[in-house]
Every structure is written in C-alpha cells, then in structure tokens.
C-alpha cells in the first residue's frame, strides 16, 4: 500500500533527524551561561508546543471538512485525520505541560506562572482532552464524532478569545521574557533541528494513527455488509 510506505519513509526520516537533533542539542550547542544544562529543555519544549498548535489547526480543519463535506468518503477521511491529530496533540500537550514547569522552575523560580503563553498552551491541551473525551463517551458513533468536530471548529475562535483575554488579564504583571535568547548560531541550529525532529515524529505518528483508523472504518463497513448477507 502506498500510504503504508509513506509512513515507513516518515518514520525512518524521523529516526535520523531525531538523532541529529539530539547530537546538535547536547554536543554542539553551547551550554547557556546563566541557566546551565536546564536550558536544553527549551529545545524540546518549544518544538512540542509549536507542533501542538499545528496539530490543533489541522484537527479544526478536519472537523470543518467532516461537518461540511457532502461525500461520505471525505467525511471518513477527515474523521480519521481528526482523531489522529487530536491524539498526537494530547501527547505533545503532555510534553509541553511536563517540560514547561521544569524549565520555569529554573528560569523564573516557580513551577507555574499564569503567563499568557503558558495559559494558552494549557487551554489548547484541555480542548484536545475534551475532544477525545467526547469521542470516547458521547454515545453513538456518528453523534460523538460530530460533536467533537464542532468543538474543534469552535476551538479556533475560542482560542483567539482566550489568547486576547489572558494577554490582557496578565496586564498588570511584567511580560516574562525568555531568558537566554538563541544568540549563538549553534543554538539556533539545534533549535531548528529539534523542531524538524518533533514535526517528523508527530507526522509519522499521525499518519500511523490515521491508517489504523481507516482500517477500523473499513472493518466496520465489512461488518455491516457481512451482517446484511448472513444476518
């Protein structure tokens, strides 16, 4: 199958790029002067946060296609893509939520601050969790899926408003600046490599999950047909 080979290519590419990124992060990029070794969390943290936002965007588009498309074929594809990106998004979100406080404890002296970017990441994570909960528990198949798709679509304007609100909400506090910008070229290199690595890992996971979901859909259809013949 063509799509299976796409997954194998993506996964092997991811394996290579992850190794390169790890090498660049730990052996090439210099250790930051004030934060020390902890600063290296930054490479993984920001990369997973960026990919989480991307996953949410794709999930919302898939939701829109699911609700708007006329043909059943496209609806099923969009649905499979939606669940694949949402699950990858929850995984990335969990990484953001674990690495973020570890970084913050050293950089800002506290595990959690209600800094706009942190708050926004938390809300994206929560929306993804709600999406998966809806798919799992909201009753009969098609219904749960369409509610989840609706949530993913409403999430886009929702996140815009959340962003505006948390930025103005924190208005009285000083804007926290990321300590130790990427001044060194080797740091920048490692940073871009880790973004690429995380993107490839997420993409291969999404493709794999998408394929599994498509097989499950095919199996469901076969079940229905078999039911017609033998039932």
């Amino acid at each position: 199958m063509k799509s299976t080979s796409l997954h194998i290519i993506l996964a092997s590419l991811a394996a290579v790029v992850v190794c390169v990124a790890l090498y660049l992060v730990f052996f090439v990029a210099p250790t930051e002067a004030t934060l020390g070794i902890v600063q290296k969390i930054f490479y993984f943290h920001v990369a997973s946060a960026m990919n989480m936002s991307l996953a949410f965007g794709v999930c919302a588009i898939a939701g829109a296609v699911y609700l708007l498309a006329k043909s059943n074929k496209w609806r099923k594809r969009a649905d499979a893509l939606g669940v694949a990106t949402a699950e990858a998004g929850v995984m990335l979100g969990a990484m953001v939520m674990v690495t973020g406080p570890l970084w913050a404890k050293v950089a800002w002296g506290t595990y959690w601050t209600w800094e706009p970017r942190l708050t926004l990441s938390l809300m994206v994570f929560l929306l993804f969790v709600a999406y998966l909960a809806l798919r799992a528990y909201a009753g009969s198949d098609a219904f749960g899926r369409s509610i989840a798709a609706g949530l993913a679509i409403l999430g886009l304007p929702g996140l815009y408003f959340i962003r505006v609100a948390v930025e103005r909400w924190g208005g009285a506090h000083p804007q926290v600046i990321y300590k130790g910008g990427l001044s060194h070229p080797a740091m920048r290199q490692a940073f871009f490599a880790s973004i690429a690595a995380m993107l490839l890992v997420s993409a291969s996971l999404v493709v794999l999950r998408f394929l599994i979901e498509r097989r499950r859909q095919t199996l469901d259809e076969l079940f229905l047909e078999a039911d017609k013949i033998f039932g």
Binding site: L127, Y137, G139, S146, I153, L154, F161, A165, W169
Partner: protein
C-alpha cells in the same frame, strides 16, 4: 421564521413557568453555592471586594450548567426534537429559540443569587450599569455555548460530566472578562478598563452567535 421562533420560545417558557423544574433547581443550587462560598471565604470581610466578583461568576457558571443539563430533557422524551427537526422549522431557528429560553432562565436565576451575594458579602455596586452589561453579555455567551452542546449531548450517557468538560475551556474568556468588569463595578482597587472588557464580551457574543447557530444545523444532522 419569527413566528416559529416565538412559538418554540413561548412553548418553553410556558412549560417552564408551569413546572418550574429548571428554574427551581438552578436557583436552589446557586443559593447553596453562595452559602458554601460564604463559609469558605468569609473570614476577612474587608477583602470581600477581592474575591466577591469571582464568587459571582463561579456561581453563575456552575448554576447555568445545572440548567443546561436539563434544557433538552423535554425534547428528549418521546423524541420531540426529531419531531421539531422533521417539521418545516429551520434548525437555526430551533437553536435560537432554545438559547433564548436558556438565557431567560439563567437571568431569572441570577437575579436572587446576585442580590444574595451582594447582601452576604456586603459588596458596594458603585458602577451598576457596567455590572449589568457584563452580566447580560456574559449570560448570552453562556447560553449560546451551553445550548449548542447541551443539545448535542442530549442522548449521551455521561452528559452531566461531558457538558462542563467541553464548555468550560471555551468559556474561560467570558469568566475572565466578567470578573474584570465586576471588580471595577464593586470598586475593587484594580487598574482595569471596564469598557474594553465589555467590548471584548460583545465581540465574543457576536462571533459565537454566528458560529454556534451555523454549527447547530450541521451537527444535529449527523
């Protein structure tokens, strides 16, 4: 469309004013919440201005959820919603009528609850107009998002848990804006521009009104 809208809304209000199921449960629940909050927070009455606005909005949000869970109960019994959808009424009209009903119920619940909070916590309303505006705009937002997902989750096994799980993340901006305006309205020492937050709420209402109205028709057909 206007006549159909009024017919559905009128039916909801009439049934509710006869049975008072949603209104009574919401109002009783909100009063209990206020009493719990009073026991939990009222150790230092001089600080009431700091946490009073938060208590008002948490109470409104939680009690509105209680009402939203029940909003489509009558449509579920005997498959009434399918009957409505099969009739010539546009799905968007059904949504707007149900959302308006929920808006009125929530507002009626808020009236005694907020009076009680103001009395218990001794909050001075120095800018009542701003507070009322934020309450109206915030309730519109709660009703729109709540009605959409309450209708969709009507038949879900775990709807009582799923409804807040889905709506609260989306309603975070409303709570933030509402608390900000209310803090200004009770004269808390905060440096906030109440009008900016009211405009923010208005923008939220307008975008979500269009989005939820559009999505309702799409989602219910699935």
């Amino acid at each position: 469309m206007g006549r159909q809208y009024l017919a559905i809304l009128g039916k909801d209000l009439l049934v509710e004013f006869r049975t008072r199921e949603i209104l009574l449960t919401m109002a009783l629940f909100s009063m209990l919440l206020v009493i719990i909050f009073a026991f939990a927070f009222l150790s230092d009455p001089t600080k009431a201005k700091d946490y009073g606005p938060g208590i008002i909005w948490v109470t409104v949000l939680f009690s509105a959820t209680i009402g939203q869970n029940r909003l489509f109960d009558r449509e579920r019994e005997n498959g009434c919603l399918w009957g409505l959808l099969l009739s010539s009424v546009d799905a968007g009209t059904i949504f707007l009528a149900k959302a308006t009903a929920q808006f009125i119920f929530t507002l009626l619940m808020e009236l005694p609850t907020i009076l009680l909070i103001i009395l218990f916590f001794d909050l001075p309303l120095v800018q009542p107009m701003e507070f009322i505006a934020s309450l109206l705009l915030g309730t519109v937002a709660l009703s729109l998002v709540g009605t959409l997902f309450s209708a969709m989750l009507m038949n879900a096994r775990m709807k009582e848990v799923l409804l807040p799980l889905v709506t609260y993340p989306l309603l975070v901006p409303v709570v933030i804006a509402g608390v900000k305006v209310t803090s200004v309205a009770v004269g808390a020492p905060v440096n906030e521009d109440a009008w900016m937050w009211l405009k923010f709420l208005l923008g939220f209402d307008m975008i979500f009104a269009v989005a939820t109205w559009f999505l309702f028709g799409r989602m219910i057909r699935a």
